[in-house]
Symmetry: C2
Subunit: 341 residues, 2 copies
DNA sequence: CTGTTAGCGCCTTCAG
DNA sequence: CTGAAGGCGCTAACAG
């Protein structure tokens, strides 16, 4: 076991300077009611003695941690990482820190993480829900204890929670309608768990666009993945053996769109001539493949910042109203979906 | 301000059950010296009353936080995100949590983050250094206070710190030699700050390979980027106006390799026929572009786990030896660099 | 402007 | 097996 040197406390400083610990505390926390030369003495002594305030003691006393918990399904996706980057930035500039847990798309882990966050007395919680989440008790508990929770991206749409998201219905509608306008009428949709609002909303938007264009909905053109990274390839194989293959593919994220497209190209399918492609999230890979991928762009960093700021506002707000923030998105049309050039 | 309900404490449980807080504490922490039916009563009451242990009080008392600080340059790169995912996984299964700060490649922010970590009394620190780091005082302070620090990927090569990394010299040597074996002898190297060991080591490996192949080193073939994402394009433009353009490009990461390659292809340069390409880090984009990119693969998740475990070991080790862990890597040869098929 | 005092909630001797 | 007591380091009244 490494020897932990005894930490310097305000009492040590007080003793050295022959003053009271209270004064030391006041000087250190920037209280104005301290004579400027005693303050200076204290600050000097503190830095000379290598003092570092103990946040546990301070937090225990003040009953606030200046820590925000963040629970995400996975850290290693481009979008999530951007999101976290935005969160960290906003929190940091407000003097907060973040403590992160991954749910690995498992409710059990999500529950465990929520409990740990409570123990650590986070001042608030930011959550993007796990894949197959079906219960929210663990968050209700936090909320009932007075710890505000803001959901972002993958949210809970019951109107009783704070959400930051985009209009997935409308975005998917736009994508689908764009494909229809390119002359496509057999549009295959690669989606994921309908328990997650983002995917359910996108499917609804897709269906609505078909309806408005008087194209019959066909169950055969719906593929549901569990977000396994290999799924793009499976989808390609599925498509190749269809009797009536699609003339367009709309995937819920760019990664599936790209991997599926690449696999089909390998099997000599021409994109967009034979099959047009569209994805979602504007992953950088979308601009680096040939053809470049049509997608829906929304800024992960901004969403993270927005979610963090929403939470921080709740921390200082007088009234606790539920906010449902809908961020802007933009349909980015690229080569993969433009049929008549 | 949201009203924070008064948290239930062990005293509340004790009062309800007419026993002492000490016994409650014992039962809750799993101490064996508690009659099994009083233990059961306590556990039931705790869950009925919605008790959640206050980590501040506990940490203050026990002088350990079960928190590990992580300071990284940026959260939103594929490799870093993988790394964090690995760290979180290892820490979590050992009952630790992680608190993350980004240095945004700035020493000032790195110093601030290190100080905050100290205040939060993290039990240990995991660091991947910022781009232009030139001082390490801030980490020495932590170490001298008994808080172990393990550096990973971007490390400090003075032999007095704990490091987890790959052999960048050898990996770059291998890449360069591979390009030479493909018949290239005008190999342009896109690198970054030589203050960072990873880039300096790779440049050395590159030079050594040239030397061993008796190819004269040419300063003109060295490009130094500040990691600005646009740099791949700038590099392409630089190459296009060279009198004696390279027949191969070796970039310190796949992103630069891909963006530079794509830009050159747009200007009708053939890859690999005119210019071969190789990158570093095995980013997924490397397999999705045409041609696929030759690269050096090393697993970010594994590196994260290894770094975390190294740190956890130091926390329990008797003797504090410095470890310098060198992870395996693998040269992944893909289409972008194979000249004679 | 400064000192005294009293906890924040938990854990850990030391006694029974 | 259980209780009493003290203290981790800090801050916030309350007095002067």
């Amino acid at each position: 076991m490494i020897h932990k040197t005894k930490q310097v406390t305000i009492y040590d400083i007080a003793k050295t300077l022959n003053i009271s610990a209270a004064t030391v505390s006041r000087a250190l926390t920037g209280n104005v009611d301290v004579k400027s030369d005693t303050r200076e003495k204290i600050l000097n002594a503190a830095s000379a003695m290598g003092y570092s305030s103990n946040n546990f003691a301070s937090n225990l006393r003040k009953k606030q941690s200046r820590m925000i918990g963040v629970i995400v399904p996975k850290l290693d996706s481009h979008f999530m990482a951007e999101t976290l980057s935005g969160i960290e930035k906003s929190l940091n500039s407000a003097g907060y820190h973040m403590i992160i847990s991954q749910s690995h798309e498992s409710v059990a882990a999500e529950i465990k993480a929520a409990k740990a966050m409570l123990k650590n007395r986070v001042d608030g919680l930011l959550v993007s829900l796990c894949y197959d989440n079906n219960t929210t008790k663990h968050f209700d508990e936090l909320i009932s204890q007075g710890v505000p929770v803001v959901f972002y991206d993958r949210t809970l749409d019951k109107g009783e929670y704070d959400n930051v998201k985009i209009d997935n219905f409308k975005a998917a509608y736009d994508v689908t309608m764009h494909l229809i306008n390119q002359g496509c009428n057999r549009i295959l949709h690669i989606t994921a768990s309908q328990r997650r609002d983002v995917y359910a909303d996108r499917l609804s938007g897709y269906k609505q666009a078909l309806k408005d264009a008087k194209i019959a909905f066909n169950e055969e053109y719906i593929l549901v993945t569990d977000l396994n990274p290999q799924y793009g390839i499976e989808a390609a194989n599925y498509i190749m053996q269809m009797n009536n293959p699609p003339d367009a593919v709309f995937a819920v994220n760019d990664f599936f769109a790209v991997t599926c497209m690449k696999e089909l190209q390998r099997m000599n399918v021409r994109v967009p001539e034979d099959i047009a492609f569209a994805g979602f999230n504007n992953d950088p890979i979308g601009t680096l493949v040939t053809p470049t991928i049509t997608t829906v762009n929304y800024d992960g960093i901004k969403m993270g910042q927005l979610a963090a700021r929403t939470l921080l506002n709740k921390l200082t707000e007088k009234i606790s109203t539920k906010s449902n923030i809908v961020m802007a998105y933009e349909l980015v049309i690229r080569d993969s979906s433009v049929k008549r050039i």
